[in-house]
Amino acid sequence: MKPIGLYRKFLFFSLIFAIATPVCAGVPTEKIKDTTEKILSIVTDPDLKGPDRDKERKALIREVVDERFDWEELSRRALARHWRKLNEEQKKEFIILFGKLLERTYLDRVEGYSGEQVTYVNEVIEGEYALVEIKVLTTKGTEIPVNYKLRKKGEDWRVYDIAIEGVSLVNNYRVQFNDIITKSSYEELVKKLQEKVAEK
């Protein structure tokens, strides 16, 4: 074998490996980074500060989050086996309601942003699923690990679950929803959620 043939072979194999091994900061991480930066730019925008611009700011954040989150998948996973019993209209209603509940619960925390640092730790892609691990460094110096779980939808990556300190958001709601539905009924759950969302 001539050295030139060996060199070609090496080039060929290294090309295969270059395609096969995922790049460190791949598409899912880029997507999460993009969304995070967009939200931070809204939260830190001095023009949008103040209680009178509250609604506008919240709507802007919601818009950015909607782009990245797969609300249907989140709702489906949270309701689990009860999801299949719903008709299309109920499903639509639930997706909106669940979105509002999460918005109510977490938006205030996002708005309470006070210079926390975000570092991107790891990314795992397996077929149409991806995991993006980040760490939030609070101003007090504690690190909070946050894992985003994404699923490929067309060309886009959408979040279907978040785990903070290893605790899954979907699992948390799945257990609670299941409890309420088995104790009473789906209608009762919707009523409870509506009350929660309407609370000031």
Partner: protein, 147 residues
């Protein structure tokens, strides 16, 4: 003839006793001799803290299987679970490691999902939740209060 009868009876009793002992030790030790019924699935946890071979796997508090083995794979815990026949786990089910009571033993709880796809034998439960490390949570709380 009479003497032979007594010896035979004693022998039979001893054999029966040994069989009972064998059965007990297999049951208590949760050993499997003839291979277990059901099928196997596996799950990857970032931390399997305190889980052991033979730990129970439950759905809604009902025993549906046991942990067969725990090994290291890519610095994650690969937990092999043996599930009873007839138990179906959906593709979006979540397996979480929980503690019985505050300081009890660890077990795996599976919260069933809503997907139409069922995990086949040898498949993987993708969604997992490691046990909450109370020590870490407390230390975070403690060190978080520096100022």
């Amino acid at each position: 003839m009479k003497r032979f009868d007594i010896e035979l009876t004693v022998g039979l009793f001893i054999i029966a006793g040994i069989l009972c002992l064998g059965y007990l030790s297999v049951k208590l030790g949760r050993m499997e001799i003839l291979g277990s019924k059901g099928y196997e699935v596996y799950a990857l946890f970032s931390n399997s803290g305190g889980l052991k071979n033979g730990s129970s796997v439950v759905i809604a508090g009902v025993d549906v299987g046991r942990v067969k083995s725990i090994s290291l794979e890519d610095y994650q815990a690969r937990v092999l679970i043996n599930l009873s026949e007839g138990v179906e786990i959906q593709e979006d089910a979540i397996a979480s490691i929980k503690t019985k009571g505050l300081i009890g033993e660890k077990f795996i709880e599976i919260t069933p999902g809503g997907s139409e796809t069922i995990i086949p034998p040898g498949g993987r439960i993708r969604e997992t939740q490691p046990p909450i490390d109370f020590e870490q949570v407390i230390s975070k709380y403690v060190f978080g209060k520096v100022d």
